[in-house]
């Protein structure tokens, strides 16, 4: 082949691929409009998908679980609250592989959290975890997840206590399951219990998103407890000085505090116009508090 022909051929090839690249961009833009439709799960019956998977059901379960994670992650990033497809994806994944513990555990979190953090369906989360317990009765951590949904999302402390107690009967369960059951039964929601549960999620989870969420809750719980303690000290201060303190430094000056307490980001707490201890308006923790309160 002559060199001129080769050059022409190379140019044509280059031009061809360049137009393909341009064309693909246009197609991507067109497809963007259809993205919502793509969220749909075409086959919603787990049993049907299992039958169609032949012998590859466990592999398909991994695919469906990955799809659920991707779906949840994408919605999270875009801040979209529409998560209707989450349940069918989790339902299919756990039907295809009934021992896929991770799908029950994280799935329950995804389902129970209020939008846009999750689907806001603790009832489905309970259904999923109970299905997991049925298929994996030896895995005591699922009882912890069940108790967690009852405790935080449904505020049903009786059932939360029962779940922890049931899980504690497993010989491999950690001793705190029994303690938690007794504590919730006696006190309902309390700082210690909430702190312990969020801390446990923070230390045991492998997912960065869940870890970040748990850390935010731990920081906020600590801040709430600090504010409660500051309110008590402000009451003491009022008894002696006849007025509520305006700054936390006044409590330290009065000898009621050794150091001025700060939140997780190093910002000192303040007293609002009613004299109640609150987060510093500059603190990033305030944003997190507002975020969680918005979806309560």
């Amino acid at each position: 082949m002559k060199p001129l022909k080769i050059i022409v051929l190379l140019l044509v090839l280059q031009g061809g691929f360049l137009s393909i690249w341009k064309l693909q961009h246009s197609i991507d833009r067109q497809q963007e409009a259809l993205k919502q439709d793509r969220d749909d799960v075409l086959l919603v019956s787990g049993k049907l998908v299992k039958m169609m998977s032949l012998e590859f059901a466990p592999l398909m379960a991994d695919f469906y679980w990955t799809r659920a994670v991707q779906f949840y992650g994408n919605k999270h990033v875009r801040g979209e609250a529409n998560m209707e497809s989450l349940w069918p994806l989790l339902d299919i994944a756990t039907t295809l592989d009934t021992h896929l513990i991770v799908a029950y555990r994280f799935g329950a979190i995804f389902l129970s959290q209020s939008p846009p953090g999750g689907l806001g369906r603790p009832d489905l989360a309970i259904e999923l975890v109970q299905r997991g317990i049925k298929a994996n009765p030896d895995y005591w951590r699922l009882y912890e997840d069940l108790g967690y949904v009852y405790y935080f999302d449904l505020k049903d402390y009786k059932k939360a206590s029962e779940a922890f107690l049931e899980g504690s009967k497993n010989p491999h369960a950690l001793i705190w399951m029994k303690i938690m059951a007794a504590k919730i039964a006696a006190e309902g929601e309390s700082y210690e219990v909430s702190m312990f549960l969020w801390n446990d999620i923070f230390t045991t989870t492998t997912d960065p998103q869940v870890k970040k969420n748990a850390l935010a809750h731990v920081q906020l719980l600590r801040a709430q407890e600090d504010c409660r303690q500051l309110d008590l000290l402000a009451g003491e201060y009022e008894k002696h000085s006849g007025r509520r303190p305006k700054r936390t430094a006044e409590l330290a000056q009065a000898g009621l505090l050794q150091v001025v307490p700060v939140d997780a980001f190093g910002y000192a707490y303040q007293f609002d116009e009613t004299g109640k201890a609150v987060l510093n308006p500059q603190s990033p923790l305030l944003e997190k508090q507002k975020f969680f309160e918005r979806f309560k």
């Binding site: 039958m51 032949l54 012998e55 590859f56 059901a57 466990p58 592999l59 379960a61 991994d62 679980w65 990955t66 994670v69 991707q70 592989d97 009934t98 021992h99 896929l100 513990i101 991770v102 994280f106 492998t206 997912d207």
Partner: protein, 258 residues
């Protein structure tokens, strides 16, 4: 026995010469890609994906070899007319058939074992030290090989009396049906007539139950597999293969090769 061994060894050599084992490269690439990608796109199933993907790939690649080469074991020899030269020697037809079966079973054993090594390396890559019960993974690989041996026997049987294309369809069809034997047993028997009930029940035991060999989920989660199941599945395969190969030998011995 010696004659069967010679045929088997030659069948194995022929498979190697036909570059059947090249699929191992494909398998290695799949495992490498999965090991790297799995951890990036999902949560908590890195090991699961490696095990399920690895075992599924071993099964799928093995099935393709078992079906496509299995049906060609006899027909290719007839097509090339090498069968006539072979049968002119003191080799009985059933010995030829058994040798062919043994040769492909040996090829599949080598192929499956090599892929199992690749799978174990992939597991070791993402999990150091290996915590998961690797024993169950090896048992799952063994079960896949048992299943493949049964598929080879069926492919041989069909190839003895029909064309290669039909033999592929029959073997593939029977394999898929064999995956749903449990569903057949779960049919609502009470709404059927007594005759139909008996037929469905007998059919569910007559068909090869390929679900027996599927312990991929157990292997992925490191669950225990009882020794009794290993023994029973081995025996099931041995008995079933004996029946199928006997049938194949009967058909082949009566076949007019002129």
């Amino acid at each position: 026995m010696m004659r069967i061994g010679v045929v088997a060894l030659n069948t194995f050599r022929e498979a190697v010469r036909d570059r059947v084992l090249y699929n191992l490269v494909f398998f290695a690439l799949v495992m490498m890609a999965a090991s790297i990608i799995a951890g990036q796109i999902s949560i908590g199933i890195e090991q699961n994906v490696i095990v399920t993907l690895g075992l599924s790939a071993i099964s799928l690649i093995g099935l393709l070899i078992a079906v496509f080469i299995g049906v060609g074991l006899v027909s290719k020899e007839m097509e090339k007319r090498t069968l006539y030269a072979l049968l002119a020697k003191p080799v009985r037809r059933w010995e030829f058939l058994l040798g062919k079966f043994g040769g492909l079973a040996l090829t599949l054993a080598v192929n499956t074992a090599a892929m199992a090594v690749g799978l174990l390396l992939a597991i070791a890559y993402i999990q150091q030290p290996i915590e998961r019960a690797v024993g169950t993974v090896l048992i799952a690989v063994y079960f896949i090989w048992l299943k493949l041996a049964l598929v080879v026997a069926l492919a041989l049987l069909f190839s003895c009396f029909t064309t290669p294309l039909l033999a592929i369809l029959f073997t593939g069809g029977l394999y898929i049906t064999g995956l749903y034997v449990q569903e057949l047993r779960d049919l609502p028997m009470q709404v059927m007539s007594p005759g139909m009930q008996a037929f469905a029940k007998w059919l569910s035991y007559l068909l090869p139950n390929f679900e027996n060999f599927n312990i991929v989920a157990l292997a992925a989660h490191g669950r225990h597999v009882s020794g009794a199941l290993i023994a029973q599945n081995s025996l099931y395969t041995a008995v079933y293969c004996t029946i199928v190969l006997t049938g194949a030998a009967l058909v082949f011995s009566r076949r007019n090769l002129k």
